[in-house]
């Protein structure tokens, strides 16, 4: 039973499920550290997926698709940046608005640009190639997932490490965290919270755009209406659960991806879909309760500040 459940294909499937969540969650983490509650990851991911497919179709090259996705994610994030940072709007209201806007906009643009409804798949859409690293990709279990993957997947794990270094070992990272935790104190030292917050939100747009590109050009090679299907929301939870720490975020993303991949497997073994469907959310609930202490601390901070 267990060797049937846990094999290389499961690891591969978990990796594919994890990358979009992880990338978006890393973006959410940077925002959280800068003191902006980022819940528009879902909308930015969807915009990235749409732009990736559009770019890849127009140029018949996945590179342009990825570029389009990054630009689209960043452009959408500017809406939140302007509203929440410059205009001091409520980031939750704005974030929900951005999500709804992107859902409607991609659904509107799909028939306008490509003349189809619901799904756009075309041989001209160039998917992201998987590059196998000779030798390493033959490692049993982990090899194919870690060393035979798309460029975005290769980027995601080192990026997690790089963000850890940035946040905790560089002066800029320190200032970013300062802006998030004590904006007045940071400002008194000549650090502009507005500039840091803007960069944080735009970075999250870039990362969520990349997540969308991986979803629409890596995991599958097509665009479907609302294809992010809640992955951006899972990323929001991963940020909370991982306490906005790179290692925690990676762990939380892995946990969600694993529970989803395992759910698919268990369904094949006869477990009802209602249970496997609920698995990631049951995990979320348990994890949120476990992470309650963190919220209590946040609450203290906000009421005290």
């Amino acid at each position: 039973m267990f060797d049937q459940l846990f094999d290389g294909a499961l690891v591969d499937s978990v990796m594919r499920a994890m990358i979009p969540i992880l990338l978006a969650a890393l973006g959410g983490m940077i925002c959280d550290r800068a003191g902006v509650f980022q819940i528009s990851l879902e909308g930015m991911m969807l915009a990235g997926a749409f732009a990736a497919v559009a770019g890849s179709y127009l140029a018949a090259a996945s590179g342009l698709g990825v570029l389009f996705a990054v630009v689209a994610g960043a452009a959408v994030s500017l809406v939140l940046a302007f509203g929440a940072v410059s205009r001091k709007g409520d980031p939750i209201v704005l974030g929900i608005a951005v999500n709804l806007l992107m859902l409607g906009m991609t659904g509107f643009l799909l028939p306008q640009i490509f003349g189809v409804r619901g799904v756009f798949a075309h041989p001209r859409i160039d998917g992201l190639d998987r590059f196998a690293i000779p030798g390493l990709s033959d490692i049993p279990l982990l090899g194919p997932a870690l060393f035979d993957n798309t460029i975005i997947a290769y980027l995601s794990l080192p990026l997690t490490a790089a963000l850890w270094v940035f946040l905790f070992r560089t002066p800029m990272g320190l200032r970013l965290r300062g802006v998030g935790e004590r904006p007045q104190a940071a400002e008194s030292l000549g650090v502009s919270p507005t500039v840091y917050k803007y960069w944080a939100v735009v970075s999250s747009g870039v990362l969520a755009g990349l997540a969308g590109a991986q979803l629409a050009l890596g995991n599958v090679v097509q665009f479907a209406e609302n294809m992010s299907s809640g992955r951006g929301w899972i990323a929001v939870v991963a940020v909370m659960l991982g306490r906005a720490h790179p290692v925690g975020v990676l762990g939380a993303s892995l946990l969600f991806a694993f529970s989803e991949g395992l759910g698919f497997r268990l369904q094949g073994n006869g477990l009802p879909v209602q249970i496997t469907d609920a698995l990631p959310f049951a995990v979320t609930l348990i994890a949120l309760i476990a992470a309650r202490k963190r919220f209590a601390r946040l609450l203290d901070l906000t009421t005290a500040g």
């Binding site: 499961l10 594919r16 189809v116 995991n219 479907a224 094949g268």
Partner: protein, 338 residues
């Protein structure tokens, strides 16, 4: 009070104009109006609706028009209203998207006859006739193909939701396979999640994990999610089956056949029944009426890019089974009412 009279006068004037228009159309023959929920573009489902409406008009000696909507309720609504203003013999509406409007407008305009295809409100007005498909008959034929072609003796289905309606597809698929290979095993997985009908990434993962357990013939019953199953078919080396339209060209060499909804045949026949006053509130169309089918028995098989085209022996068997279903010697139970 003055305002009230103004509005009243305007309404009266409009009503008179409208009735004058209706009186003006005293020509011979029937007229039909087909209102789409969206642009026909490359949507074969909507295109077939137009073909069927035109064919019915031609056959019954009349004319037909098509009002093509954009994908928003405002344009759908104004098109239906425009169609009602012209007071044709029948207004043909398609798909679930127009379900609520079909219900609303048919109740508000009891003298106008409507046809709604592939959906039906719970309590249709007497002037609304629904045309639905007996999808289980086509799925049974696909099952025969899978039962014959499967080398592992295991087949599977990736289905959008775990609701009784979809049993028509996966249970009938299983039944068809069992009819030619009693030992065949069928596994079903459901896409579920937040967006079951348009989550190709999730459908692909499910198809990959399903195929890893043995099934080498997988039925994709996920509408917009199907593309994910076909992609998985290319990567994990299994063969897939599609739904509604000929999906073979989207993944040449990976799709065996499809459970077709032949909208043109349905519209053509249902219009005639409605005109002759023979139509019930819900009319179902299966193999016998040519409303459902498979590419294997379709005239366009040669250009379909379907894998089944390479298996004439199985096509013969499917043909025999289809005849059996039509003449009643093979009974495919409807899982919804069985």
């Amino acid at each position: 009070m003055k305002r009230f009279w103004k509005i009243g006068a305007a309404v009266l004037a409009m009503a008179m104009i409208a009735s004058a228009c209706a009186d003006g159309e005293e020509d011979e023959g029937i007229d039909l109006i087909y209102v789409t929920p969206g642009p026909i573009g490359i949507n074969p489902f909507l295109a077939l609706g137009e073909v069927g409406t035109e064919r019915a008009a031609e056959r019954l000696g009349g004319t037909s028009k098509t009002f093509e909507s954009n994908l928003d309720t405002a344009s759908q609504r104004s098109n239906i209203e425009a169609a009602i203003d012209e007071a044709p013999d029948v207004i043909v509406l398609t798909t679930f998207t127009l379900l609520e409007m079909a219900d609303e407008f048919s109740k508000a305009n009891p003298d106008q006859k409507f046809i709604l295809i592939d959906a039906c409100p719970d309590d249709p007005a007497p002037n609304l006739h629904c045309g639905v498909f007996r999808e289980h008959e086509g799925a049974y034929l696909l099952g025969i193909m899978a039962g014959r072609l499967s080398e592992t003796g295991q087949i599977g289905s990736v289905v959008a939701l775990d609701i009784p309606f979809f049993k028509r597809w996966w249970q009938s698929f299983e039944l068809g396979a069992a009819s030619v290979n009693a030992s065949v095993e069928n596994s079903v997985v459901f896409i579920g999640g937040e967006n079951a009908f348009a989550d190709p990434a999730r459908a692909k993962e499910l198809a990959l994990s399903l195929s890893a357990q043995g099934p080498d013939h997988i039925f994709a019953v996920g509408a917009g999610s199907n593309g994910g199953v076909f992609e998985a078919a290319g990567e994990a080396d299994f063969l897939a089956y599609g739904v509604d339209i000929n999906e073979c060209p989207t993944a040449p060499g990976r799709v065996v056949d499809n459970n077709l909804k032949l909208v043109d045949a349905l519209v053509d026949q249902l219009v005639e029944k409605v005109i002759n006053g023979e139509a019930g509130p819900v009319e179902s169309f299966g193999l016998a009426e040519g409303g459902t089918g498979v590419m294997a028995l379709h005239p366009d098989l040669a250009s379909s890019e379907c894998v089944i085209a390479d298996h004439p022996d199985i096509i013969a068997e499917v043909e025999a089974a289809a005849e059996g279903i039509i003449d009643g010697s093979i009974v495919v139970p409807d899982p919804l009412f069985g």
